[in-house]
Assembly symmetry: D2
Homo-oligomer: 393 residues x 4
């Protein structure tokens, strides 16, 4: 897609978000999963009509075939609204689930689980995290087990047993991608939500608003799945998780750029109008300095995001850069949101403005997909292990 076409696409996404999506935000329903589903369904239909849905997918899958770099601006526009990614059919966990299924599912698996997901007819869940002492930031600690077994009709397959929580999207999902430990090592399975062994206990209430399908706590008990529920190869679970995370994190960065930019837009507008101590807030130098710091944070965060996207488009390894981007961008965006709160005062603390919700939405990004501290240890070790210690090259 050339620069002009991309810019026009961005403007179309922008119009869609401003005209259709932001007006549907309702802060009082920030945790109402049913309302979120219903609203998203309507918005997705409009996105389909406008030809804007799932733009990151190939045209044969109904998308626009955007490469990674093109996604940066498009997803930032979508990300401005809490409902934007869902409206475009590319909210987590569906978007990374689509990504995973495209990469490792068989054609038959894709027909069964991927196609309805892309079409927006169903939602999906992702179940990896477990309560202590299970898997959190350290992917090797998976406790949920898969062992070979037979189904009620004697058919061969797998029995899954364990306890998951913070299973993104679990409430209302049609199926879940589940990471478990088989004898061969961490492995991925698909479990349909109507499987009697998939027992959704509750959604864990959480600080972040507008989370599609919430954060499920799920018990897997004698959960039988047939042979074809295995995704990819046994024992390759950590490789798939790493692949998934690298892309998912980057989309997270893109959407977050839009949310942070919206916080800045709102704060700019506010300080230009509000007066205090004999001047508009915008004339106070501390305000200018905070605006400047947010400009710098947004500018550099966008450059970092774009650089990682470029490396992905070139087919380079992004292991090191993806970690650095995760830490840098998540922290920069949280700083921007925090300054916007400070600039807008009591209003920013209220639900009359989007600022408080933006702060709540962005905060977990420093934790989910690997806490900053875990990434820092990994980045540091990797840098120190390089045989050629040359930071200038």
């Amino acid at each position: 897609m050339d620069a002009l076409a991309l810019q026009q696409l961005c403007e179309r996404v922008r119009s869609f978000i401003d005209e259709c999506v932001i007006p549907r935000e309702d802060m009082s329903r920030a945790h109402d999963i049913g309302w979120l589903d219903a609203t998203t369904k309507e918005l997705r239909a409009e996105a389909d009509r406008r030809g804007l849905a799932v733009p990151q997918l190939a045209p044969r899958l109904g998308g626009l075939g955007l490469n990674w770099v093109s996604c940066v601006d498009v997803f930032a526009q979508a990300g401005r609204s809490f409902l934007g990614a869902g409206a475009l059919g590319c909210a987590a966990p569906d978007q990374p689930n689509i990504d995973t299924l495209l990469q490792i599912a068989t054609p038959a698996q894709q027909r069964r689980w991927l196609d309805p997901l892309i079409a927006g007819r169903v939602r999906s869940a992702f179940a990896m995290t477990e309560p202590a002492p299970g898997v959190g930031s350290d992917p090797r600690m998976i406790q949920t087990r898969a062992r070979r077994g037979r189904g009620p009709g004697g058919e061969p397959g797998w029995i899954l047993d364990g306890h998951k929580w913070f299973s993104s999207g679990a409430v209302g999902a049609a199926f879940a991608l589940v990471v478990v430990r088989a004898d061969e090592g961490p492995s991925w399975f698909v479990v349909d939500a109507d499987n009697p062994g998939w027992q959704l206990q509750r959604s864990v209430a959480s600080i972040d608003p507008f989370a599609y399908g919430g954060h499920g706590e799920v018990v897997l008990r004698d959960c039988f799945v047939a042979e074809d529920a295995l995704l990819g190869e046994l024992g390759q679970g950590l490789v798939y998780a790493q692949l998934r995370l690298e892309g998912a994190r980057l989309f997270h960065c893109m959407r977050g750029l839009g949310l942070a930019a919206r916080a800045m837009d709102f704060a700019h507008d506010y300080v230009l109008k509000r007066e205090s101590f004999g001047a508009r807030l915008s004339e106070h130098q501390q305000v200018q300095a905070m605006v400047a710091d947010s400009q710098i944070d947004l500018y550099s965060a966008r450059l970092v995001t774009t650089d990682v996207a470029l490396r992905l488009d070139r087919g380079d390894s992004i292991r090191h850069e993806s970690s650095m981007a995760k830490v840098f961008v998540s922290e920069a965006l949280c700083r921007i949101a925090d300054r916007a709160a400070q600039l807008t005062g009591a209003l920013g603390m209220s639900d009359d403005a989007p600022i408080a919700m933006i702060n709540r939405k962005l905060r977990p990004f420093r934790i989910y997909d690997g806490a900053s501290e875990v990434h820092r240890a990994a980045i540091g070790k990797r840098a120190l292990m390089r045989t050629n210690l040359d930071n200038t090259r």
Copy 2:
């Protein structure tokens, strides 16, 4: 109160909080004002039974006669629970309203409004902040007017007209202290909640949980109040506001110390149990460093709070130190809460732990009672205006 007696009092408050108050916290009702009132009533009764209520008041008022320094540890203990200050009858805005009424109300006014407030039979509101272009951080921008007028029966009094919001405690309050502009300058009045001119529109939804009486938006329309509704002297409103704020901020610091300490306690417990990457989290040096930074923040924040209390007990002016304490303590406590979230990961983002709520409760402290930026400008100007530029003395 000698050191031993104080320590024993702290332990009694601590037991009360641990045994009676924390078990009553219900994160799912963080914004349920009615539930909060009902629960607080029961807890206050128990505090009365235990002789722990309103400890900052003189014995003749039913309190324990604590001086400011003694309050630091006692209120920190109470502040550990979201419901603790209310249980002891010293939550904002009642506590600073009591303080104001003690200082500037006539005996008749005290009998009418102060006594039931101290006894915990009613709650009160405080109405100063206005929507733009009215008063926010700059106290001189009050738009709500008071003019002399006559009541329905022809009795002399005042007519108040204006628009307030973020009126703390407005929902369910029996009366409000209202700061308005008279011809003589900013002035304080008491308005009963059943006054037909006091029109509560709604409670503004906000990020902070467990706010007694919420944050009311109120229209004052032809609101007649009799002569005896005037508090103190006409035109002295800013002086009273300053006095009130200096004390209120310090109590805010004390309560916040407890909330931050609880976040640390929770995080310590978590990192001592949770394992990751082959070791308990507590063995990772980044975790130790975060724990250390929170130790240092809490240690210094307590010293700063205590120093201001000491100056108040000595009768010194605390204008400069109170501002510095507000900025330092509010920011230190938010750092502690943020680290606790980072240390406890997804759990810390959920309502299964108190961490997310503690973050939400502490965040507005950097804005309410004067945003950090407003204080910084004032502190800087004051330091630079001193004729004797001597920072060593």
Copy 3:
């Protein structure tokens, strides 16, 4: 220059720096201007032999015709040594003086002053800053005056009078570019160092080591210069200053990247060897986190620098981005240098390692060419003045 050729050039610069330049560094002579000149002369000769000198200039001027983006990596390599930029003939103030003379000098002026400068036969100075109440961060405050007058032989020209300090490069310079106030506004002149009205008082001792020609304090007293000493047009001085600074700042960023990278290289090497508390320093997680933060700072600083270079190559205005880059990069590099000091302990504080000097060299970058605070106010104002408040675009 294609990517491969650029990479090869970088390696050649790298070899030159490692083999010839770094071995000549002598920390004990950090402020010995004469030694610095003599050493630089020898190194420049070697750079000429290797075809590496003044690479940013067009081939017809003896350079390699590098565009801005290509300069980033080349100058970062050169910048690794305190003596590197000088060795390549592109240290400040000569490099920006060359830039200015190329842009606004007449052919005759270029023959007289530019050619010997490019060839490295002479050094030059830049005199703009004045002691209070003269020009510092605010370019409009120039006090030094130019008025029309006649020389000793009656020839027409200009008389300059005023007081400059922090005149970069003044000691040992053949001439200076001087910014003064004429009736038409700020204007630029060339003053030869042997002009009797150019009275060099001293070099102001300063924290930064290896400063070519030091920081001169100069009195201009009845300083007559002929007509042809005027550079460009009268009254355009601030425009020229802005142009000069945008380029100079970017070169400063590039060189600083190299210096910071060297600090990291040194620190990596140290923590991989040094043991403490039963492990190599590199195995301590706090060390890894510090290494990670420096990786992230260097990565993002390089992206920001490259983005501004790209905009310059495209001919875009870089006013906003250049300011943001100045603030971001100077602060990121100082953080890197500070961490390297912390990582290398007492050794890092000594002149046995380059770390202390790197800290001293980088520190003024947050002040020179516009202090961070001045840029922040400008960035904030500019962002707030944009009619289209859209931070996502």
Copy 4:
């Protein structure tokens, strides 16, 4: 000493520093150890005349018998000048050496080494740190050995062998306290500087100015010392080191408070006079905010220092608090010095102002006596090991 007497003493120290000491500072001689000795000798004589020398010592030792809390303000006054602590006879390493000798030396040892030190007739050194792989932040890594042996006349004693550097005060010292490893564990010895086995190689050039006796690199080769050179008990070296460091760090904090306060005084004065962008610098809100942050840093740093002093006076253990104070105060003071540099611009970078030197003097404080990172790990571990996890108490 009562409050009034203490205040008067502070004023007398202040006058001495302003009238006699600061005028003798000569930035160009920041590393001239001989000049520093000669100047200090004269100043010490004047301090003796004024009855201000060694105020922390008991009256029977010629001091004023100040307790720890009283020392805070007195040493802050002295610390305002680079030469102040030396002028009062309480600069490191002499002051902590005096402290150590008072605690563990025999009366005979005290007569021989302590008395002339207190009288200011000689200077002393402290030799603990070693080049890698020897002792740095981890006190258990001492490589220098002591074994029993005989002197040239056959007398029994000890032979010391090893390599020390950053031996504070080594150049020009009469003797050194040396920490070495005996079979019984770390142990302390006194070595006279004229001992042929004590081979001073050089002073390691370092970033910090005005260091009494520099930072010596010393080889101990077949260094025989008699029996009476052993200080205290064999194997108790780490206990003595810890004791010494706790006090030394606190004095370091006190002196640093003065140096930082002086930087602020200078910066205040500058921003009140200097104009920029149409206003005095002091009227710019960013400047006010920086001034405020330094006020807050100094205020809290003084409270923390005083709290540790109070605990020492009470005889409490200060292990945890001393570490916290070291980290907090050293970092707060460096922030203050950095802001003063930023506020005073190019002048602050020059030796025409004390700011650059103050930055250089304070920077190593974050490293010497245990780097911040080492303390953070220790503080975190200690907090997490407490059986009673109660941060509110």
